[in-house]
């Protein structure tokens, strides 16, 4: 099998980032509906039944699982300290999705924090040591 190029690997990572952002939104919407019908207690498994029977939470987890397999595939070839920062592009997506689909309010300060994180992550991504 031909070795996939670095660009192809990065493309795979970005695809998994898009999937992961969408999955966070779907899971959060599921958790919003679960928690509106009763409080969750960490030490009480019974209160978790609605979580693990919620289609949105479980569907979101399944998508996260798929993204996880993609991670496993690229983990052996790229430094984790490069891989992780690429995921930062997903925070902008998540914030936009959260406003549009969940009605969350994102303040100017919060956007500033997100922007700092994305720029910082770009620095980190560009600091990959050439081998």
């Amino acid at each position: 099998m031909a070795q996939p190029s670095k660009r192809k690997l990065i493309g795979l990572v970005l695809l998994s980032v898009l999937l992961a952002s969408s999955a966070q939104i779907v899971m959060k919407s599921g958790m919003n509906s679960v928690s509106s019908s009763g409080a969750l207690v960490l030490t009480s498994p019974a209160t978790w039944v609605p979580v693990f029977t919620n289609i949105r939470v479980m569907g979101g987890l399944a998508v996260v699982g798929c993204a996880f397999l993609v991670w496993l595939g690229v983990l052996g070839r790229v430094d984790v300290s490069l891989l992780h920062p690429l995921a930062a592009t997903g925070y902008v997506l998540t914030a936009i999705f959260a406003i549009v689909f969940l009605g969350e309010v994102v303040s100017a300060i919060r956007w500033l924090g997100v922007a700092l994180i994305v720029v910082g992550s770009t620095f980190v991504a560009r600091s990959q040591v050439k081998r």
Binding site: A88, G113, I117
Partner: protein, 119 residues
């Protein structure tokens, strides 16, 4: 405050899982999505990968719990703190090299996270 503490534990466990997975997958030596799927028995027979998956599982439960208290636009960017934890663990355990530019980036991530935590 306790909600943010639980979120931080979730993020830390995620970082520990990530480094454990990286160590395991390197030891197993399979690369590429196709090979991982084909080599699943070998992949999940590795103790570091199992520990990584367990750590990820615990992290996921705490992440879901945090969702009942916090905005996702608050939580998701804070997950970037795991880059800082991961880098430190990668230096210590995986002997990866980190150049100053990466530290500058990590400091920006921490600053951004502090800003968000105050919202």
């Amino acid at each position: 405050m306790i909600a943010i503490a639980i979120l931080l534990v979730a993020i830390t466990l995620g970082a520990v899982g990530q480094v454990s997975l990286k160590h395991g997958i390197t030891a197993v030596g399979v690369v590429g999505v196709r090979n991982v799927v084909r080599g699943l028995p070998r992949v999940f027979g590795n103790v570091y990968i199992l520990a990584g998956v367990f750590s990820y599982g615990a992290s996921s439960v705490l992440w879901l719990y945090s969702m009942t208290n916090l905005d996702i636009s608050f939580m998701h960017p804070l997950a970037s703190l795991s880059y800082v934890f991961t880098t430190i663990l990668a230096i210590i355990l995986l002997k990866e090299r980190v150049i100053p530019m990466r530290w500058i980036g990590l400091i920006m991530i921490v600053a951004g996270s502090i800003l968000i935590a105050r919202t």
